[in-house]
Assembly symmetry: C2
Homo-oligomer: 396 residues x 2
Amino acid sequence: MISKSMQQAVAGSSAIRAMFLEGKEMAAKIGAENVYDFSLGNPMTPVPAEYNQAIIDAVQTESSLELHGYMDNAGYPETRQAVADNLNKRFGTDFEGKHITMTVGAAGALNIVFKAILDPGDEVLALAPYFGEYRGYVANHQGILREVAPDTETFQPDFEDLKNKITEKTKAVIINNPVNPTGVVYSEETIQTIAAIMGEKQKAYGHEIYMVSDEPYRELVYDGNQVPFLTKYYDNTFVTYSFSKSLSIPGERIGYVAVNPSLADCEQTCSALSVATRILGFVNAPSLMQKAVTKAIDATTDVAYYDRNRKLIYGKLTELGFTCAKPQGAFYLFIKSPDADEKKFVETAKKYHILLVGGTTFSCPGYVRLAYCVSYEMIERSLPAFEKLAGEYGLA
Amino acid sequence: MISKSMQQAVAGSSAIRAMFLEGKEMAAKIGAENVYDFSLGNPMTPVPAEYNQAIIDAVQTESSLELHGYMDNAGYPETRQAVADNLNKRFGTDFEGKHITMTVGAAGALNIVFKAILDPGDEVLALAPYFGEYRGYVANHQGILREVAPDTETFQPDFEDLKNKITEKTKAVIINNPVNPTGVVYSEETIQTIAAIMGEKQKAYGHEIYMVSDEPYRELVYDGNQVPFLTKYYDNTFVTYSFSKSLSIPGERIGYVAVNPSLADCEQTCSALSVATRILGFVNAPSLMQKAVTKAIDATTDVAYYDRNRKLIYGKLTELGFTCAKPQGAFYLFIKSPDADEKKFVETAKKYHILLVGGTTFSCPGYVRLAYCVSYEMIERSLPAFEKLAGEYGLA
């Protein structure tokens, strides 16, 4: 018999799987081209050629035992240095290689950060709506996740609620920017306000309250928006990152944690991350992938691809009378459900072969998430279905 | 400030790092060729050519988005099937692809198994001497590790102690075969005896007590020895495996869990492993590495390389009067310390530039581990130093 906590997790996972299978059945019945699956956040832009070339070069030219072998748990020195240099060049920061721990993706990065900082019963705040997996990541380390409400006009955080939710037990606040699932970018003003609140609370409680920045969508921003780089605003900051979206390689599990050089007990904390990656069983980020991202560190993805999708679907949905937060980053739209119960709206959308994810998954019922990391042609094909859906709710 | 549990872990890790640095300093002073570092368990045999070729072929011929993309958390269907087929062919088992979860190495495999089965306070037994990392893996999931004493004549387990240590709270017994650090292979008789004891205790307590087999050294056996494949002896068995040693690719983090089809609640347990790999932050085993091991599944390492080393070092050390368990597998020798305090012996060996690991790390004080996964030439060069070391203890 599996453990009690896993019995719940498996049940929850079965629901997602059921939806996935439903989509497959739909495709088998009416043809895949007639199913409009907006449920998955998988990158769609081409993998940069220099990344694939870097893999081939490494395999053909480097010593196999070293290439596929162990290194320091924190990663190859040259990879850590390349990440530090890249950040410094782009954001004017002063990271050294020793501040970087290479990780098994952003999920691995968040887990080693929580392993390093959480004592049992410590609280971690997430700004709703948020990526539901954070619940599991915090629980893995016996932490307790608490939610901060959004301002549902702008989907920036509700600062009063943030103030009230920080307690003596709060050890960290997760900041995901751009935000999955809303596509909103937290502005510099928002970050400054959060930093000021956290700074005051640190003083009041006399211990660190860490900012844990989760930025897999950092490069996916539109209309000239900039994502504030958080170490500039707050000393006790961890930046967690994945190359999944920027290089379209989510299956390869490669990312990093960058520790702000001015974080309290910085050196001991970096050691703790390195030990945590070993203890949790990651051991180290996959070695060949470390070599490949070192070479492809300056590669960028085709943001225009997602931007074109964004303009088409956001333009059409608002024209049809749907209400969405203005999407400025990532590849998601967060749509206000025209049905008070968003689960019913998700079901109604399915009648028109549109697959969406209910906001409850992101602790924000009454909304649905649409992922537009799909082909432009699929969006075009889907528009008549959205028209009918709007019609059913009398929106247009 | 890092968490309390990590403060201890970092301190422990610093001790290992100190030894590593000491070796480096020694090499800088007297030349790397005059330092005999037997402390690390890193594979040394060439990476099979078909593995590297499989990587290049996949990058050159497959769709990049699929190759580097997400798949089911449990892994690519063809990879899981290839593992099942390989096991069935070699061991006469009846695995299907659905019984296999691809993992981030054996450490990742053990962690998802413990995540899937342990409730807080559950006990896991390890047969001393054992790989010290098990302590962390069990603690990650709020389990409690208990030790079973060895028979120090044979380094097979002490069965009476095993009987006494299994309690109402025991959820699993870890069996590492061949054994790190002794190099001993548990015989079929040993496995049958353990299985019989565990079977009785399951009945007595009315719940599953799982056998968790950790077999990264499965293929490294000598003198025609066979490692019993545990699902044949006990229904409630998980087999965890890494390709690190068999393909010499420890940095790539690729392995698997195979669930015995006759394990209780097999289907739900397989689901739990898949969910656990997601929740713990591994998400899935690195995708390109899954493709590569699929193609290289029949590749084997050069066992004769390690065997030649084994014969040289074991022959010489016993000739010099040292006492070691007969090494039948893996690439370790476990030497009885001629000093009652093995830490002193480790220090004395350093005087002769020989680096060994004390048995306390493996919960077996009074012994030291020697890893002979080094070059044959280094062993040859080290022999006069061992002669002096034996002389200092008046052994010869």
